[in-house]
C-alpha cells in the first residue's frame, strides 16, 4: 500500500498576479516593477496587476460591488478548480473548505470607508461598503459564488500567512473536516499600504528607480492572489503537483532541529526559499536550508514578485518555484524571519 495515498495533494493552481490571471503554472518571463499611479513625491515602483475584465476570465462572474482582493480571490479560486479538472456539480460542496490568508484584507474598501467617514462624519458612512471591509469578505465571496459550504476561514500570521493557510487546510482534510480545500493567499497594494512600507523603511532601492546596492535590503511591493486546490492524494484520477507530507510554522525555537523533525527520514532534493526576498532575509533562509540538507542541494531563491506579497507570498513562491523544479523528489518550502521564526513545509513533488 502506498503510504502517501492519503496525504493532501495539490491538484490545481490558479492565480491573479502581475503575470495576469492564469490557471496552472506561471510560464517564466521577465517582469519589471512599474510606476505606481498614485505616487506624489517622485517615482515609486511596484509589481502591479494590470486591470482586466473578470467576466472574460470567469464567465458569469459579477464583481461590480467587490474590491480587487475579493475579485481576484474569486478568479484565482475558479482558475484553480478549472486547472484541477473538478466539476463542482459532482462534488459534495458541503465538504469543501476555503482557507484564505491575507495580511491587509480588504484594505481598498477600508480606505474607502474611512474616506466616507472623513467626508460625511462617522454618522454618514456607506452601509454597502462596511461588510466588504471585513477580512473574511473574499473567502465568503468564494464560498457564495462557488456554493462551497464547508469550513470557511481567513487567517493571518505575522510573517507566514500563506504557509499557515496551507498547513491549516491540510489539517482540515487530515481530520476529516473537509474533503477538499481551496487555499488562497494574497493582498492588494493601496496608497496607505505603500506609504506604510515606505515610512517603515522596508522598500528596496529598486522602488525608487535608483541604482540599487548589491546587498541592499528591502523589497518591491507586489499584489495578487494565488490559489491551490488541496485534496487527498488518490481520491480521484487527477494530476498532482505535489503532496504535502508535513509542515509547521513557529515564532521561535531552534529552527534547524525543528525542521529536521518535520522532515523525519527524508532528505529533500530541493529547497524553495520563500520570505520577503530581500537579500538580507534570503541569505539567512538559504543558509538554513544548506545547514539542514547540505550544500549539494538545489536552492530556489525567492522571486521578487512573490516576495513583494510579503507574508501572503508563500503560495506564489511555491507556484513560481514549481516551474523550475525537478519533476519529482522531496522538497522543502522554507521561510525564516529573524533568528528563530520559521515556516517549513515538506512536499513530495510529483
Amino acid at each position: 500500500m502506498n503510504a502517501n495515498v492519503n496525504l493532501p495533494a495539490i491538484t490545481g493552481i490558479g492565480s491573479v498576479s502581475p503575470f495576469g490571471p492564469l490557471a496552472g503554472l506561471i510560464p517564466p518571463r521577465p517582469l519589471e516593477p512599474r510606476a505606481i499611479p498614485w505616487a506624489t513625491g517622485g517615482p515609486r515602483r511596484a509589481f502591479l496587476v494590470d486591470p482586466f475584465r473578470p467576466a472574460d476570465v470567469v464567465p458569469g462572474l459579477k464583481t461590480r460591488r467587490l474590491d480587487r482582493l475579493s475579485t481576484w480571490a474569486l478568479i484565482s479560486a475558479s482558475l484553480a478548480i478549472r486547472d484541477a479538472g473538478i466539476d463542482l456539480e459532482k462534488v459534495d460542496r458541503s465538504r469543501v473548505a476555503v482557507v484564505f490568508a491575507t495580511g491587509f484584507g480588504c484594505v481598498e474598501l477600508t480606505e474607502s470607508f474611512f474616506q466616507s467617514a472623513a467626508a460625511n462624519g462617522w454618522s454618514g458612512t456607506d452601509p454597502n461598503t462596511f461588510p466588504e471591509t471585513l477580512f473574511n469578505a473574499p473567502a465568503s465571496h468564494v464560498a457564495l459564488f462557488l456554493g462551497l459550504r464547508g469550513p470557511n476561514l481567513t487567517v493571518d500570521s505575522q510573517i507566514f500567512a500563506g504557509e499557515c493557510a496551507l498547513i491549516q487546510a491540510a489539517s482540515l482534510i487530515r481530520h476529516g473536516q473537509a474533503d477538499l480545500a481551496i487555499v488562497l493567499a494574497g493582498d492588494t497594494l493601496t496608497p496607505s499600504v505603500y506609504a506604510w512600507y515606505e515610512a517603515a523603511d522596508l522598500l528596496s532601492p529598486f522602488c525608487y528607480n535608483s541604482e540599487p546596492l548589491p546587498d541592499a535590503c528591502g523589497f518591491i511591493p507586489s499584489e495578487g492572489v494565488a490559489a491551490l486546490v488541496l485534496e487527498p492524494a488518490g481520491s480521484r484520477e487527477a494530476r498532482s503537483y505535489a503532496r504535502l507530507h508535513s509542515g509547521r510554522w513557529a515564532e521561535g525555537g531552534k529552527q534547524a532541529n525543528a525542521i529536521r523533525q518535520i522532515l523525519g527520514k527524508y532528505v529533500p532534493d530541493l529547497a524553495i526559499c520563500a520570505g520577503n526576498g530581500a537579500p538580507c532575509a534570503t541569505s539567512s533562509t538559504a543558509h538554513l536550508a544548506h545547514e539542514i540538507i547540505g550544500f549539494d542541494t538545489n536552492i530556489v531563491l525567492p522571486q521578487a514578485v512573490a516576495a513583494g506579497l510579503a507574508k501572503a507570498g508563500g503560495l506564489l513562491h511555491l507556484i513560481l518555484a514549481l516551474n523550475s523544479c525537478p519533476i519529482s523528489g522531496q522538497a522543502l518550502l522554507l521561510s525564516t524571519a529573524g533568528e528563530s521564526s520559521y515556516a517549513a513545509i515538506h512536499l513530495e513533488l510529483s
Binding site: A195, A200, A250
Partner: protein, 402 residues
C-alpha cells in the same frame, strides 16, 4: 495515537469583559443577572446608542516598544489571566502556540485621515499605530508578551472568529504542532465598527432583546477571552486541573448571502450536527445551547430555524439562551467569551437566561431560558457562533470530571 492524545481539554480560562478581569467576575455578574449595557455617547460625534465597555483596562508592560492596540491589550490581559497558574519555565508553556480571533484588531487605532493623506498621518505618529492594523498583530502581541514560541496566527471570520480560533487550535493540537495552545478572541469598541453597524441599521439603541419578537438589533461590546487547550495526555502529565473537555467542534458556511444568514439556518444546523457527530453524542445529550443570539431580526430567526432542525430528534425541548443580552456582541471575541460562559454553565450547573426576553419567537422544540437562572447538572453544552459571510461554528464542551 491513544484516546488521551486525541482528547482536547481546557486547563485555563482568562477573561476580560465589561465585568472586569477574570472569569470569577464574569460568572458572579452574570449569575446575579447584572447587565453591563449602558447608554454611550462619546464613541464618536453623533453616536447615541447602547454599548458595554471595559473600564480601567490595565496598561500592558512594554519593554520592547512594541505597539499594542486596545484590541491587543485586551488580548494580552486575557492571556495573562489564562496562564496565571501555569509554570512559565515549563517546556509546554514555552513551546505553546497561539490562535487569536479578531475582527477589529488595530482598526481601533486608525483615523479617517489615513485615507486622505497616509504619508502625513504616518509622520504625525500614525506609523506605529498602523503597524497594529493586521489581525495577525493580536496573536503576535500575545505570543510576544508571553515569550512563547509555537505556531502563532490570527483568525478573522467576522463574528464566528472566536469559536473558530478554538477549533483551529484544537486541530493543531491533534497535529502535534504544539504541546499547548492559547486560543481565544479579542475585540475593542471602535468608531469604525459602530459606524458600520449603525449604517446597516443593525443596532438597537436600547439594550438588546435576543430572540424576542420585539427585538430591534444588537449592541456592541468589547472584551477578550483566552482558553488554554492541551491534550488530556499533556494535562495529565503536568497534573493540570481539567476545567472542561472540548468534545466536538465544526465549521460550515451558508454560501447564501454576503451578510444575511440562510433564513432556514441550513448551514448552522449542518454545523451543529457535525459537532455532535464529532462529539459522538445525540441531540438529547446536549443540555444547553449558548446561542449566537445577536438580537437582529434576521439572525435570530435563522438561528431558531437551525435549532428546530438540528434538534428535531430530541425528546424534549432544547434549552437555549443568548448571553449577548448581558454585555453585547463582542464580535471576534464573542465566540471565545461564550465558550468561557458555556464552560462556566457546565461547572456551576447553571443555565443563564436571556435578559429582557418577554415574548420569545414562536417555535417548537426550543426551551427559551428566561427569568431566573436554572440550576441543573449539565454534562454537555454547546456554544454556537455565526457571522457575516455566512460562516458558522459550533463547539461542544463536556464536564472535565470522569
Amino acid at each position: 495515537m491513544s484516546d488521551i492524545d486525541k482528547t482536547i481539554v481546557v486547563t485555563g480560562i482568562g477573561v476580560i469583559s465589561p465585568y472586569g478581569i477574570g472569569l470569577a467576575r464574569l460568572q458572579a455578574g452574570m449569575l446575579a443577572g447584572e447587565c453591563c449595557l449602558a447608554p454611550s455617547k462619546d464613541l464618536y460625534p453623533g453616536f447615541a446608542g447602547t454599548t458595554a465597555q471595559v473600564c480601567d483596562l490595565p496598561a500592558v508592560a512594554n519593554p520592547s516598544n512594541f505597539y499594542y492596540s486596545r484590541t491587543d491589550q485586551l488580548a494580552v490581559v486575557a492571556a495573562e489571566d489564562a496562564v496565571a497558574n501555569l509554570d512559565r519555565e515549563s517546556f509546554a508553556f514555552e513551546e505553546s502556540g497561539v490562535v487569536m480571533a479578531s475582527t477589529v484588531a488595530g482598526l481601533c487605532e486608525l483615523d479617517p485621515r489615513i485615507a486622505e493623506d497616509p504619508n502625513a498621518w504616518y509622520r504625525q505618529g500614525g506609523l506605529a499605530r498602523a503597524s497594529s492594523y493586521p489581525v495577525s498583530h493580536v496573536a503576535t502581541s500575545v505570543g510576544t508578551h508571553l515569550g512563547i514560541r509555537g505556531p502563532n496566527c490570527s483568525v478573522s471570520v467576522a463574528c464566528a472568529s472566536g469559536a473558530m480560533a478554538i477549533a483551529l487550535a484544537a486541530n493543531l493540537l491533534l497535529d502535534g504542532a504544539a504541546p499547548m495552545m492559547l486560543a481565544g478572541g479579542s475585540d475593542a469598541l471602535c468608531p469604525f465598527t459602530l459606524s458600520g453597524f449603525n449604517s446597516l441599521q443593525a443596532l438597537d439603541a436600547a439594550p438588546c432583546r435576543p430572540f424576542d419578537q420585539n427585538r430591534k438589533g444588537l449592541n456592541l461590546g468589547e472584551g477578550a477571552a483566552v482558553l488554554v487547550l492541551e491534550t488530556l495526555a499533556g494535562a495529565m502529565a503536568r497534573r493540570a486541573p481539567v476545567l472542561a473537555v472540548l468534545r466536538g467542534w465544526a465549521m460550515t458556511n451558508d454560501a447564501y448571502h454576503p451578510t444575511a444568514p440562510h433564513k432556514d439556518g441550513v448551514g448552522l444546523a449542518d454545523c451543529i450536527r457535525r459537532a455532535m457527530e464529532m462529539a459522538d453524542c445525540s441531540a438529547d445529550e446536549i443540555g444547553y445551547v449558548n446561542a449566537h443570539g445577536t438580537g437582529t431580526p434576521l439572525n435570530d430567526i435563522a438561528e431558531t430555524n437551525a435549532y428546530q432542525a438540528a434538534f428535531a430528534e430530541r425528546s424534549r425541548p432544547i434549552p437555549v439562551s443568548s448571553t449577548k443580552s448581558y454585555f453585547g456582541h463582542c464580535l471576534g471575541a464573542a465566540g471565545a467569551l461564550e465558550a468561557a460562559i458555556t464552560i462556566t454553565a457546565i461547572r456551576c450547573g447553571a443555565l443563564l437566561p436571556t435578559l429582557r426576553l418577554t415574548e420569545p419567537i414562536e417555535s417548537s422544540g426550543i426551551d427559551w431560558l428566561r427569568g431566573e437562572v436554572r440550576r441543573q447538572p449539565l454534562p454537555l453544552a454547546m456554544s454556537v457562533s455565526a457571522g457575516f459571510g455566512g460562516s458558522d461554528a459550533a463547539l461542544i464542551f463536556g464536564s472535565g470530571r470522569p
